[in-house]
Symmetry: C3
């Protein structure tokens, strides 16, 4: 089940030009393009006439001409032309999605456009903030999107999955503090006077001890910002610190496939291109380690006898908290939808 | 759902020799071969003993010896030998299909053999008529066969899908006249004094204006002959005309896959092999443009919420007429079948 | 359906070392390894915490540390460590399977460990007997395991499928005697004074007539030993005979996929490595001929209308006998299981 009244990342902003792009989000086909004026439009990728993929058609100005029989829809999804006839039936229209471009990404509101609330776009300002520079990408994962949220809300896995880059014993040995604040989950772990993990040592050029912070903020449906800091031990001297945000948004393609959008955005050595490349390569390799683990989890979710349950541990607090919030919102959405019918 | 009491193309005649060939039609496995006497035989491709594929066996004279345990069936599907025993149970037989070779193709009647009626084989005489020459092939498409019938009954798509070969503005600008005649649908479009589409200009060696005819005849379940003509504008001078039939028969492999048999058969420049090659290459490329559109339609048919409907337009008249006829025949067949039980 | 209270081959013994291996048996994921002391351990390949694949973790001594969050299980499946917390919930454990190494293979008991009975491991002693030497392998087949048992219990198929190696007319012309002995099926065929099949002639270096024995013993769930002999016709002179056992055990991966473990183990020319290679290559090619036939059977099992039945013949006696025994045991197991609930 998916929360429909929510923003999902549909693309990187730079991916969307004045040409037709295609995405699946939560099982829905969507065609996306940028108007001549520069605004991003998202319509159902399905011609209301005979279900042809609109994304196989062509743009005429800001309208899409279906590539099958020429039915033409404007950027609100309204039909403006049916070749060979004057009359345009009222039902000849494609669904239009509310779209916002923010923090380098194109966000699409899957649910009722009248309820679209920009305030619900997560706070990922560091992707766009002056004084910060980011690198990032997107990864297709053959697993349910919530397995990825779980992963990011319990960073103890770094010790076991990512010992080559961002994991070490300190992570598992330091308890985290989890709190639920409205529809958000916050998980905070401060590791004092600890050996830096391999990637931190490489980035800072020293393995002298650090105070390491991990401050995680989860926002529905699947957005996670991690404020990651490595100060020289005993100081909060930002001038000598590693500090970056790990920004993550997971878009369900369907219930067994996801596209994982990520950035690492840092506020130091902004012009060091070699550093950017080191971070990109190391973090991508790190996330691909997660993918192996998570895709095997997904397989077991599909093959396990329904009686089989999971056994919770203390470290699950963040992941379970986020799941409970999302389940409640999905339940409320279903209730509101059946009440309005 | 498929109409069972109907003829389907199982193969090109030249594909069937005195050796075992395998086809799936409407979900049924069928083994086909030519007897020593030259007659084409089609049996269920499933040994009645243990379901081995008979097509993996071998021909002994005109009988098939199953390649697993040697059960041997004659060309009526009757068992003539069970190795190691004298007694042959009455139930040891494979279903036999009525077969007719006509118009270069092998037609198989999927339903009750006693109801097989050769008069129901569509009129595709131009594939075999003296004074005509054809080129053609078969294409596997990952879509329901009716999406292909729809395609051929609404040629307005040529303007949008086939602008490189047989489409231009004239097609979309000229209304067609659709009529239902018994179990047939006829769609006629006459474009007067119009620019020829690119392939017509190339074939005739001139882009001087033409009168262009498209006369479509649909016969159940999925047979379409298009009488295509390009006369010098204002004359019906056949000696200077392009005239060919586009002959099409679509065989469902299952409900999501089809094999599309096609020819273009012309009555001019019969010996011009280079022209034959030009037509073959151009029409194959044209049909492959359809395949892209149709396979994307099929995907949406599988993923659309069941509440989603299509919105009809004037140009659908032929396609909808054909669907209504086929639905009625399938319904009548189901009623007759339950009445006889 | 699978018999759970039964031994299945999970691996060749030589495949299992002090490292984590992964297998699926009857739909269950299993992680297998050899302890430092040399004992083979099999656990459910699913961390009780969040369903991660334990086989992606690592061995610490004889315990598995889950590669996701470090939950550590000993070789009984009991949890010995949860990183970051003292309390270990009782339910935090992975299922442990009874394991026996015997006849070169690792056998896993899928059902209730208290009912595991080593006497039920089939008698495949010739894989390990002094005076015998074997060659063998394993083959993945896209078919239900019972189609492979059927195949081995009716060797008349050799005449049709394996004419290049072990089949000839004598097999189909000589009736077999089938008997059911408790939960075993025995099928015996003695061919007197007969031409040797091609592989026998090649192995013995002569095509002078032989007396050929095939003595098949089926043990549940899917184990078949075939005592194959080729004596000089009229003698039972073992010194000039070809004699080998064809040892077969088929492990269901799931209901549509199987892993077929096989050996040919002989008691002559023990040190003739070229002969071993000839036998290996010839028998593997022979079994791959079966795979083609059996995978096509499986496809028909999936596509056939449920009304379609098979028609039995005399040669089926062994295969049907084995199916009846296995069906009864599965039924009894289900009854016992519901009684104990």
């Amino acid at each position: 089940m998916f929360l429909k009244n929510a923003w999902y990342v549909a693309a990187w902003s730079h991916e969307i030009e004045h040409t037709l792009a295609q995405r699946w989000i939560a099982g829905e086909p969507i065609v996306i393009y940028r108007t001549e004026g520069g605004r991003v439009v998202a319509l159902e990728d399905r011609c209301p006439h005979r279900r042809a993929a609109l994304s196989l058609g062509r743009l005429i100005g800001d309208s899409i001409e279906c590539g099958y029989h020429g039915v033409t829809l404007d950027c609100s999804g309204a039909c403006v032309k049916i070749p060979g006839q004057e009359l345009i039936p009222k039902t000849m229209k494609a669904r239009s999605y509310r779209v916002v471009e923010k923090w380098q990404w194109v966000w699409v509101w899957l649910g009722d456009p009248d309820q679209a609330d920009e305030a619900l776009i997560p706070d990922f300002r560091w992707n766009s903030e002056p004084g910060w520079t980011y690198t990032g990408g997107s990864i297709d994962v053959k697993a349910n999107y919530q397995l990825l949220t779980d992963n990011l809300l319990d960073l103890t896995h770094e010790t076991y999955v990512h010992a080559k880059t961002i994991g070490n014993q300190a992570v598992i040995e330091t308890p985290a503090i989890t709190s639920v604040v409205g529809n958000e989950v916050h998980v905070k772990r401060i590791m004092s006077n600890t050996k830096p993990p391999p990637l931190f040592a490489k980035v800072r050029g020293t393995d002298s001890p650090i105070d390491r912070w991990q401050v995680i903020r989860y926002q529905t449906p699947a957005n996670i910002a991690i404020d990651a800091r490595g100060y020289p031990a005993g100081s909060e001297d930002m001038s000598q610190a590693l500090r970056w945000f790990s920004i993550n948004s997971i878009t369900p393609i369907d219930d067994k496939t996801s596209r994982y959008y990520w950035t690492i955005t840092r506020c130091f050595a902004l012009d060091d291109q070699a550093l950017t490349e080191l971070i990109h390569k190391s973090i991508l390799a790190t996330f691909m380690e997660d993918v192996v683990v998570i895709e095997a989890q997904q397989l077991r979710m599909q093959t396990d006898h329904p009686d089989k349950h999971e056994v919770g541990i203390a470290a699950d607090a963040g992941a379970l908290g986020a799941r409970r919030i999302l389940e409640r919102l999905i339940r409320e959405e279903a209730l509101a939808s059946s009440a309005s019918t």
